[in-house]
Subunit: 341 residues, 2 copies
DNA sequence: AATCCTATTGTAATCGTTTTCAACATCTTT
DNA sequence: AAAGATGTTGAAAACGATTACAATAGGATT
């Protein structure tokens, strides 16, 4: 039904090869013919079939984007960045929501392969045994963003999770806290593992004990944050401060804290990984590490496009440093000064 | 590079036609051959090229999704629904963020056409003169969601904006408010126009005057909500209550209200269109109309898939009724009782 | 046993591009 | 003027699947 290159060729009185050459801005076409072809294209409203092009070129101008939770504002911002960059380069974006589910992730990766996408940006559900392997095998470029894939050689864009978590927890310690709870994502994914490590290192660096029952982990969802925080708050030796390792976990934590009528920072101090734009509306404002989400997505997509152009160079790793933003959620803690000296 | 149907055929000792028949579960294939083919597929890890299929079938198994703001949780939830339904039916989703920009929307529509997508779900930037026309012309099914396209015959899924806005404003009036400001999206899009209409009708129904300077409109973004609300609050005859017509406008309004140290509902009452999941964290909880966002996306996608299967039947319009949720942001207003009797 | 069906399989055309190769024309160089 | 170089164009072969059609074989019916 739609008009095709043959129609344009007929209208302009040339062959389809010539039309193709004009459209691709190839040399060796006379001005006269070029003019006629462009006129025909205009008149017929011709639009090349990207499907036919993809088949011929053995590669679609599409990039796949696989994330774990489209409803998480962190990823939303990342998606936005990927989309912006792709749009500028005339690429379309396949959006896939893996839901932290490895089966779904695998299916989507098969889909990417079947669609012959030019490349994939992924925030992998887990660090090892990742189905991305299948893409690498058939030479589809992959960029890991936010989370790593340990056993594959791919371009990677992450933040310094260990350092940032370390800074957050050290801040609590410097405020006098000695009994600090952690609500973090599970260690299957990079973010959970590394942020936990930052927490542990900060305690160790200050000679504090690592108490396993103060570290709670689970899927990075609000309901889980609510649940885990509740468990910590109801402990006989309730922590005086909390570190939450993910924005949704933070929302859940806040809900649990509010529900118990506890005040921040008087009853419990709170530092959080990642920021949410509406957080300035709640009091007190939270001390957080602000992730450069848009930057993350933009960098990843640019890396991917580079790799698509030229796959020769060795994989790159970009580590961004998220700033610590100190606000009012963790004032100086008095009582603990008795405990240590 | 990837294995193709010919490779499978050779391996199984049959022709590619037979392989195709097996994979499509067509009749007239002997059990013996079917077994051999499936074994070959398994051994080679064959995956059909969806690109070649699309070319041959003159239609991709892809649906296009064009929304105006991926960072708005309303759309995020909608995207999620579309993605879920598409996934179940083996469709991939092209995500396009139009940014309320008609030029970008047009470019994306051209892209959809060039990619020969099976259909498009769109929340159109404007009601009239919509570029979707171009899709209809080439028989690509379109479903409008959240917002209408007035001059095209397409399936449509929206909420009862007029009714819901009417209910919200009536609630304020019943609480004694007589001087009510409105911060709404501009009337180019359905949501802005219809919600404004609901506001106007509610005032009229109660014999209240429509004061143009109390109605502020603009793009549905937080910064705009902040700006417009600020203007209303700084008026010499500041309204005693506010109606915000969109979730992001609400966030901006809250910021403006907080910044001026005003209390809700004592200094100013507030009712809002659409809900945000973190809103339960701020006090007081807002009286809102809760949009069934997931339902919206799900219904739209199902309608689209139906239309793709069978384009014969006349366009449908589904109108969902969002519930009014009364909370604490608009207590009874005393002073106004003097004004009217 | 001749005829007709039906079940199974293969051949080849098709979808809409791009690109290689060859053909021809024109221009330069000797 | 012959030879070679260069510029412009078209014919045809890919890309990888589906499918209309033909071909063959075997079984049933007369």
């Amino acid at each position: 039904m739609p008009v095709k290159i043959q129609d344009v060729a007929r209208r302009a009185g040339v062959s389809s090869a010539t039309v193709s050459r004009v459209l691709a801005n190839k040399p060796h076409v006379s001005e006269e013919v070029r003019r006629r072809v462009l006129a025909a294209v205009e008149e017929l409203g011709y639009q090349p079939s990207r499907v036919a092009r993809s088949l011929r070129a053995q590669r679609s101008k599409i990039i796949g984007l696989i994330i774990s939770d489209i409803q998480n504002p962190f990823f939303t911002s990342l998606v936005r960045a990927v989309e912006d960059v792709a749009y500028k380069h005339q690429y379309a974006v396949f959006l896939c929501n893996s839901d932290e589910d490895i089966e779904k992730e695998t299916l989507y990766i098969d889909l990417m392969r079947a669609e012959r996408v030019a490349g994939v940006v992924i925030s992998p559900t887990r660090e090892t045994d990742n189905p991305c392997q299948k893409l690498i095998e058939v030479n589809v470029p992959v960029v890991a963003v936010d989370r790593r894939i340990l056993d594959l050689e791919v371009d990677t864009v992450v933040v310094d999770n260990v350092g940032a978590a370390f800074n957050l927890v050290r801040h609590l310690i410097n405020d006098g806290h000695r009994h600090i709870g952690a609500v973090i994502g599970s260690s299957i994914a990079t973010t959970g593992r590394e942020r936990r490590e930052g927490y542990v290192r900060a305690l160790e660096a200050h000679g504090l004990p690592i108490l396993p029952h103060l570290i709670r982990t689970g899927l990075p969802k609000e309901a889980v944050g609510y649940q885990l925080t509740g468990e910590l708050l109801d402990l006989p030796d309730r922590p005086t401060a909390l570190f939450t390792g993910n924005n949704l976990l933070t929302v859940g934590a806040l809900r649990a804290i509010h529900e118990r009528g506890l005040r921040i920072p008087d009853d419990i101090a709170l530092v959080a990984f990642d920021e949410l734009d509406w957080m300035s509306l709640i009091k007190p404002n939270l001390t957080v590490v602000a992730q450069p989400t848009y930057e993350l997505g933009k960098t990843a997509t640019n890396l991917l496009l580079n790799r698509i152009e030229n796959s020769a160079h060795p994989p790159q790793e970009v580590v961004l440093n998220p700033p610590l933003i100190i606000r009012q959620s963790c004032a100086h803690h008095e009582s603990s000064s008795d405990e240590r000296r």
